[in-house]
């Protein structure tokens, strides 16, 4: 029989896991609403309006619709993989959050017990995130293949080619940040950026902004968002890899996509924008709990991605490959050299 302290520790972990996964599961609800609102306003429309005040209940209506929709499995599909693919896409997206810290420590009021705002303080954190995050691609490839449809297959192929091309530069960007902060650990990364905003990696001139640009572009391609959403290019591929999916299975893909967007925003904030450090090292800013700084920055980035989505047109497939191989990778290599020289 383990003693009470151990039990408490286990309980805390269980609570943390359930809180995080609960948040992640419910995340698409506000995010779809926000995304549609942003889309509407950028296009001088209103966006969802009718379900609830300002349409806030629209995602719930969508959810109900998805839940009661008929679950269609194509006759000639590979049934097993077809059913497995949405899960394969979703699970890695969730697993990534094991290594993501949301802050240092947090004291529960009245009890005086401190809990850490992360699940695991991995010393290979960034590597873990890149590795696990890369697994989500299998959902797309296998889902596209298992659907036994031309559009889906092409979507799957595109996503795999895209992912291979951009994984390299994304990892390079991660390596660059690792070189700047001297650690693979995300906590260490944030700690090394404490101070004013000038200590953030993005302001590590001249290489910081370049790494940031490389990372953002590669990450956009990795999570299949416009301008790189070729795998689900509705103009040419119906809906790409999830053409044949309906109902809950489709919503799993959507869920994974939104979680991936959040992951990338979080990573950007941790890697380049000082995590939960306030922008200026003054006492007023320290009154605000760090988690709010963190969430604020993350939300800014989520908005940024949505903003981008409704500003830029989709790239052509060959342009996508050109950007990946002929621009980003050489640029990353040069930048690694420059970073190395700067550190020395």
């Amino acid at each position: 029989m383990p003693d009470l302290a151990t039990l408490l520790e286990i309980l805390i972990i269980v609570v943390k896991v359930s809180v995080i996964s609960g948040i992640l599961f419910s995340l698409p609800l506000p995010l779809t609403w926000i995304e549609r609102k942003v889309a509407g306003h950028i296009q001088v429309r209103l966006g969802p309006w009718r379900v609830g005040p300002h349409g806030v209940l629209q995602p719930f209506a969508d959810m109900v619709k998805l839940l009661i929709k008929e679950d269609i499995v194509p006759e000639r599909a590979d049934k097993f993989l077809f059913k497995l693919a949405p899960l394969l896409s979703m699970i890695p997206a969730f697993l990534v959050f094991v290594a993501i810290p949301f802050g240092e420590k947090f004291a529960i009021p009245f009890v005086g017990k401190e809990i850490t705002l992360y699940l695991s303080d991995m010393n290979v954190g960034i590597l873990y995130i890149l590795a696990i995050g890369g697994l989500g691609i299998y959902g797309m490839i296998l889902g596209g293949w298992a659907s036994n449809s031309k559009y889906s297959l092409l979507g799957g192929l595109r996503s795999s080619a895209q992912m291979i091309s951009y994984e390299v530069s994304m990892s390079f960007a991660a390596i660059g940040v690792v070189m700047l902060t001297n650690s693979l650990n995300l906590l260490e990364m944030v700690r090394s950026q404490s101070g004013s905003f000038l200590d953030w990696n993005i302001f590590y001139l001249p290489v910081g902004p370049v790494w940031f640009v490389i990372f953002i572009i590669a990450a956009l391609a990795e999570i299949n968002r416009i301008p790189f959403d070729l795998p689900e290019d509705e103009g040419t591929l119906a809906a790409g890899f999830h053409t044949e999916y309906s109902g809950m299975r489709f919503s799993f893909f959507m869920l994974a996509e939104y979680v991936a967007m959040v992951t990338v925003s979080v990573l950007t904030v941790i890697m380049f924008f000082g995590g939960w450090n306030p922008p200026l090292d003054i006492s007023i800013f320290h009154l605000v709990p760090p988690i709010f700084w963190f969430l604020g920055k993350v939300i800014l980035f989520i908005y940024f991605f949505m903003w981008l989505r409704f500003t830029l047109p989709r790239y052509r497939y060959d342009q996508l490959m050109t950007i990946g191989w002929k621009v980003l990778i050489p640029l990353s290599l040069v930048n690694i050299l420059v970073t190395g020289l700067m550190i020395i």
């Binding site: 590597l127 890149l130 590795a131 696990i132 890369g134 691609i137 296998l142 297959l153 795999s160 291979i164």
Partner: protein, 162 residues
């Protein structure tokens, strides 16, 4: 506890390894191989080498197998494979593999594992990097030459001439 985990991962790894060989659909084989590689990564974690585990997943599962699947999907090998290997002998093959595996396992359990290879250093990223550039500098550089040669070879083979 640790042993239990080891057995679990090892069993799944072996089972999925078998599935790689026996699955008739190349995509299923590839998927089984992915499972197998992930299990091996888990074994690395048990061996206190999270770096290796992450690298294993990153490179093998995240990149190599994606490329592999990409090629498999493009080639559409389903028909070709079914023609090349008549499915009759499957049971026989599985039998042989199982026997060989049992033998190897028996060997592993019979033989006492002697000297510990770990030279008392923590397998952290830093120490791995340090090792690569000091003790294993020569093999490391040879690997780079190999990769260059492989690159040249691949381009020569694949390039359209004239």
């Amino acid at each position: 506890m640790e042993k239990l985990f080891f057995l679990m991962f090892a069993a799944v790894a072996i089972a999925s390894g078998l599935a790689v060989v026996t699955a008739r659909n190349p995509v299923h084989s590839a998927l089984a191989l992915i499972v197998c590689l992930i299990q091996v990564a888990a074994l690395f974690v048990l061996l206190r080498s999270p770096f290796l585990a992450a690298v294993q997943i990153f490179i093998y599962v995240g990149a190599v197998m994606v490329l592999f699947l990409f090629v498999v999907l493009i080639l559409d090998m389903r028909k070709a494979v079914l023609q090349a290997f008549p499915p009759v002998k499957k049971r026989f093959v599985v039998g042989v593999i199982l026997v060989l595996m049992a033998q190897i396992l028996a060997f592993v359990f019979v033989t006492p594992m002697g000297l510990s290879p770990a030279g008392g250093w923590e397998p952290t990223v830093e120490s791995i990097g340090r090792m690569l550039f000091t003790k294993y500098l020569f093999p490391f550089e040879v690997v780079s030459v190999i990769l260059l040669a492989a690159l040249v070879a691949a381009i020569v083979i694949a390039k359209e001439r004239r």
